[in-house]
Amino acid sequence: MSKPEFVYVIYIEASCEKVWDALIDPEMTKDYWGRHRNSSDWSKGAKWQHEDYDDASKVAIAGTVIESERPHRLVLSWARPANLGDPDKVSRVTFTIEEQFGSTRLTVVHSELDDEMLRGVSAGWPPILSSMKTLLETGASMPMTRRRWKSGE
């Protein structure tokens, strides 16, 4: 039986390169991804971590860069650090960034999810990606996404 996946598509008035960079630029993610940063050299096989912007030792999510082709395709494994050794708790995120007649279509497929992570990411991706779009199009993110998520949310 295949595990559930969550798919989210959003169109952004910015270039593919700007969308790619927004996913990995700490100065941007702190403003739309709950005061966190994504830390890696983004080469295939490298480790990556989703860390508190103010304290890199607080790692919320970690994994490996499975594919990295700027600006169109980024694939990461995704797990809470304590679960990295448990294949049942490691999921996969695929970011596809495509130009479509002058707009950029960002598709996020979060696959191989367990039920708890499915609930969390189903609630999390829409506001995070909506706020990234607001940041890229207006110069400022939505204020509520600049604050750290309370644990359990």
Binding site: Y11, P126, T138, P143
Partner: protein, 170 residues
């Protein structure tokens, strides 16, 4: 009409830096919808039982239905039937619901497209491709003053599936 039988087949949530009232206005007025909804003009009589219509730029009624639920700036549910012969008979009505909630300083808009019977992924592929584009464009319009112009390919998979069911499209 008994909406209890209808189950969501497509659910899309987007957060918009705006107010519930502005989002409601954008969803229910032609002045806005022409900009984000592929040039189509929404006309709706905002009361239960009121007529709902989406007209193409040439004035033709492309989508018609009626208002099922109406709570200004909170919820609008309409039947949303494309005017292709035999579509309603073969697929049943389409129910579209917009829910508007305050989320911090922003608005959480949830779109649900529901049906009273299971439909294939091919038939649903049109909506799955279309709604994120329409609502992304609405978001840009409210936040930046400019809608996105998202040129999309015709939904070939959906059109082929409808043709196979004997539904003439366009």
């Amino acid at each position: 009409m008994n909406i209890e039988k209808f189950k969501p087949a497509i659910v899309y949530t987007i957060y918009i830096a705006s107010t519930p009232e502005k989002v409601w206005e954008a969803l229910t007025s032609a002045e806005f919808s022409r900009k984000y909804f592929s040039g189509n003009a929404v006309e709706v009589d905002l009361r239960v039982g009121g007529a709902f219509m989406l007209r193409t730029p040439d004035g033709a009624p492309h989508i018609t239905g009626e208002v099922i639920e109406c709570e200004p700036a909170r919820k609008l549910t309409v039947t949303f039937n494309v005017n292709w012969p035999a579509l309603l008979e073969k697929l049943g009505p389409t129910l579209v619901s917009y829910e508007i909630e305050q989320a911090g300083d922003a608005v959480k808009l949830t779109l649900s497209q529901s049906h009273d019977r299971p439909l294939s992924d091919d038939i649903l592929s049109g909506g799955r491709a279309g709604w994120p584009a329409i609502l992304s464009s609405l978001k840009s319009l409210l936040e930046t003053g400019e809608a996105m112009v998202i040129k999309m390919q015709p939904p070939e998979r959906m059109l082929a599936a409808l043709k196979e069911l004997g539904i003439a499209t366009a």
